[in-house]
Subunit: 373 residues, 4 copies
């Protein structure tokens, strides 16, 4: 189904070449101050055309809020927001209409539903994440307004180039809010949203792939700062399980890890366990190998998450596919321009999914009143 | 909450040192032939004491089915199964009663619920996965009986030692059912459930860690063989999202990947995309880099999943913690014997979660009738 | 929350005086032929101003479909439909802004959410049932297209005047589809949607109440014809429980009954039980006292439901209330014109809720494929 | 499915002649003091054999709690409770094995699931309400402990005999807690759980039906006292909708009403609307025609609900049915003794469902902390 969350629920709808795309947000308590601009800002961060590594289609993605906000505040009723599609010009699809693109969900959708929207992936297009970002913008506002929680994302690896900036190289850095604000500015001013010193090297790597008519993936790190202790549930409705499901639900994601993640498989127990100590009146972990979550529940340390993003499947190179009508092998050449890398544009989407997950579990864990704040 | 699944639902209950642990399975269609023995066999696979790397507590874990099966077949009503705890002798907990164990959820539970079951982790104990395995055994039977789907798991890495057997080194191997049966036998006869040639080296690695009073993690690969094309949903209720949530919900899991996973971040689009070709009358992928899932929906190729398991947090070494009464730093020494590695025992649990997820989505995708088979 | 249904889900949003109202329909299988006109027709049936007993505000309620339908058929993706509000002129609310209207949810909303939309009830307005009707129109089409199921509603009582036409007076009548078509025409041509011979008497009753600046209630009967045997579930997700929840969810409904309903409390078991007999090759009930449902599951006989509708709470008479600012008792006089009876306008809304419920349970019971038809 | 509730969830399982029946309660916050005896007392109220109007099968219905309670308090983990079946002697079912009983769900289950438990209805038996009562007992304790809410039920009509005691004849009576305690005692000492002066007349009416080998229905009123203002939600997850779904989910229930219910259809708006006035510092309704709920949300007045209970379908009279093997009409005579009326035994079940619903919505409305109290 197209709904994410149990107590703070986001239902998204819309196709890449339909009339509009949007989301209905249900379960946001009343009295949250929020404006259309707050949400528009987040939409602008994922909009195409914002850097050299993004398709130059200059979609405006202008938000309209149709319900749920009255006199500048949420009312407790569902918030409906949408973006009308503009400039989705009817181009010539005849070449690819019956030839599913490798790496895309075209064939899958066709076999499952008996139809697919050949005009650009329909519901499987990355464009549908507009709904995620609308929902995420409200969730971000809610958790920041009530608990001063910040969510920040950046790339730590592009293709084969490792960056030099990640949480575990800089744990103390993340203890200061002003550091985080400076970091955010740095990220937003970088075309790869990468705060590493060697980001120019990464840039060249992507430019080189563009020359080869190819595409590139990467790794994104998401930090959730300020989440109180106790958010999440044991067993099945875990904080990490919900975050994992949220992130893996983004089509390009092929891997997910928390804290030390895959590296933890190589450590001894005595290396991995975070020792406790008294820090003034509260109990803290000396390290944060666990990434801020144990047994489904937040520890109070920053939550550290990483995802692997596959290279964009749309490439200009000729690829091998089949023709669905003739049932014969057929080469396919996807015209137009494509994002050579979607890592930077996925970042606000992952931040949105993190925000929705945290808002949802903070309501169900009793940290945010479900009716009004 | 303690329920997993939407259409095939497993609700687990019970604590490590309570009277019993169990599961209620709701949504299994009627007419599935199943016996207590089928379920008991799976429970035996996760039972402690089955190898040198598992605690010698010889819990019997004897299953009782109390409802939902009549005259050897499911009836369509909820299946309630449980295991009474035996031999959970009341030992002396006074030393650790007020000192949360690092790496465990003790402190988290205490801060969240205002209580914790100091007798062995209560609900956060690995022992609660008995419920997962009861549910998984029914799900395995359902998907094997109706669609001949097989789920097989094994370790591919122990501590720092990489194995030489995994799906990508042997893709053709997995095309034969008799190969899979032989593989299963090999796995079950190995104390680390590792089919690699160098498993003795891994064994030594674990024995060495035991000598050091330490513990070891590893990586597990789970293959789902025979899943038809079209299982799963776009956007939020994706096959990969549900599997991710299911696996990450197991306490020791710190990372999850599908297909090429984290490696995909290093590939070019032209390397990662699986080309299509006509194989007799059906469309197949030349490779399976995507791991059998695109856009939330199964492609018909084997589903390939990998998880990272952290080292067991219970170790005999002295560790640093705090006393919850005195609010002072305190060393903790956890007595008794512990599993130096839980990787092999987690395998049947992950297989169970995979089976429940697949059963659930096959019902909601219309592959298995929700009422009767 | 604002979502109804589990497998066929309708999420409604919007307020009476907001920018727009609408619904997102999730879980409708692909390939259902449907047009905007199909949905518009149902919206027209609940639109104000269609008879002398309805407010003369001539809202156009023009539907727009923004997603989920491609080339005249559903695609399996969420269907988003909405109606922009027009002519909700900003009138002078100063008199009633702080004085909750008796019989309305104004006070309740204010105390719960700390705000209320004084411009006409906001989310508690009957106008929000536009979303229900959009969802219901799709559901009606789905169950009619796949199983030829018809849902028909009419009033059987207006105020104190009992009608002479209901299911139990005419059980054989409902066995013919052409009878049902004629009945539908008769209902739609009657301002009270009442097929009884004495409907003129009822009309006078309402006119008399209008003269007294008062309002009138009534009883509605809903028949679901053609529902196959086996729809619904035992215990908690029952056909009757879901229908009851759906109907009671409409604000004006204060009572709900199935089959003989409250009358069944007066019968002996030997009178109430429907005997079985062989009718050609199938087993039928001689009577249908149970109203087509036993134990949560449809019997194959027509489903017979009745609801009690309270008189419209908006009346022109002076009423007693309190001022929320001064905390003093205050009289309130609600200006403008109001529906003296909403019974006829509630009928398409109840039909919609019945259709959504039946569609939802037919999918979860395996009668309609969840992916494509 | 077999789960009721969203935030306070009760999953019931078990069949009338299986090994055991029980419930898993998920979402009860930690720190609620509760004993097995608290739950056993409620089970005793619904146990057969407690009066002359109940089958003399003296099932002990001895409760066992297997998880979720530690040192006399809930722990926040799932509470698993069950009752082992005893003395379900294997009697001779050969006469009725293939002949579905009129008024029961036998035929329905058989056609839906391809099997039915001929030994006494299996999952459709009233005996499965043991699970409801286990869940309800915990919910009652939770809402009484945290908010002093009382739920009380009694019969107001037996067969054709109207009682003289109901809420609307005695609204002031219900304002005193000591009155309610006295009322409860009177109810529990009456074999029909009827506090009316003419209950002896009702008793004779049932005895007369027993002589005729027939059965009798009735009407039950349930009062929820002390529920705070604001519980419930607009639109679909309404307090009245949830209560309706909960009550209609009990097999014998054929009608449900709130407040004036069906009578409200006969009233004018000016009669039905409850006027507001200032009562010291709070706003109260002068009357409670609405039954304590408007627009999905509690008003703070007592919640008044009524249900119609059909006569017990099991009667000793010869009835007409069909043989499922021979497909011929066949008479059926159901041997053994049966409850001539189940109205009094249904009362604790309805109270349980009311308690679960209120607990669930108080958690989701922010009145009860979801984690710990």
């Amino acid at each position: 189904m197209n709904t994410f969350g149990d107590n703070f629920r986001v239902t998204t709808w819309g196709e890449s070449h339909g009339k509009a795309l949007g989301a209905v947000i249900d379960g946001c308590p009343s009295n949250l101050p929020i404006s259309e601009e707050d949400i528009q800002n987040e939409l602008n961060r994922r909009r195409p055309g914002y850097s050299i590594f993004s398709t130059p289609r200059k979609e405006e993605d202008k938000l309209e809020i149709l319900s749920g906000i009255f006199e500048g505040k949420t009312t407790g009723t569902p918030i409906s927001g949408l973006v009308f599609n503009k400039g989705q010009k009817s181009k010539d699809y005849s070449k690819i209409k019956n030839t599913p693109r490798p790496g895309h969900a075209d064939l899958n959708y066709f076999l499952k539903y008996g139809n697919y929207d050949y005009r650009g992936g329909g519901r499987s297009s990355g464009r549908t994440t507009i709904g995620n970002v609308i929902g995420g913008a409200v969730a971000k506002k809610l958790i920041e307004f009530t608990h001063n929680i910040k969510i920040i994302g950046y790339s730590t690896k592009i293709g084969k180039i490792n960056g030099d900036f990640d949480y575990y190289k800089n744990p103390e850095f993340f203890e200061s809010n002003s550091n985080i604000e400076k970091l955010f500015e740095k990220i937003e001013n970088n075309p790869l949203r990468c705060p590493s010193k060697n980001s120019d090297e990464m840039k060249d790597y992507v430019l080189d792939a563009m020359d080869k008519q190819d595409s590139v993936g990467g790794i994104i790190e998401i930090i959730i700062k300020g989440i109180p202790q106790g958010v999440g549930n044991p067993v099945f409705n875990k904080l990490e399980g919900k975050l994992g499901s949220a992130f893996i639900g983004i089509n390009a994601v092929k891997g997910f890890e928390i804290g030390r993640g895959f590296e933890s498989s190589e450590l001894y127990g005595s290396e991995m366990n975070d020792s406790y100590y008294m820090n003034k009146d509260s109990i803290k972990g000396k390290t944060n190998n666990t990434g801020g979550i144990i047994g489904g529940i937040s520890t109070g340390s920053p939550v550290v998450l990483r995802v692997s993003i596959k290279p964009t499947p749309s490439i200009s190179k000729i690829q091998e596919s089949v023709n669905l009508i003739s049932n014969e092998n057929e080469k396919i050449e996807i015209g137009g321009r494509h994002d050579p890398i979607i890592v930077p544009r996925v970042i606000p989407v992952l931040e949105s999914m993190a925000a929705i997950t945290v808002a949802d579990l903070m309501i169900s864990s009793g940290y945010i009143d479900p009716c009004r704040i």
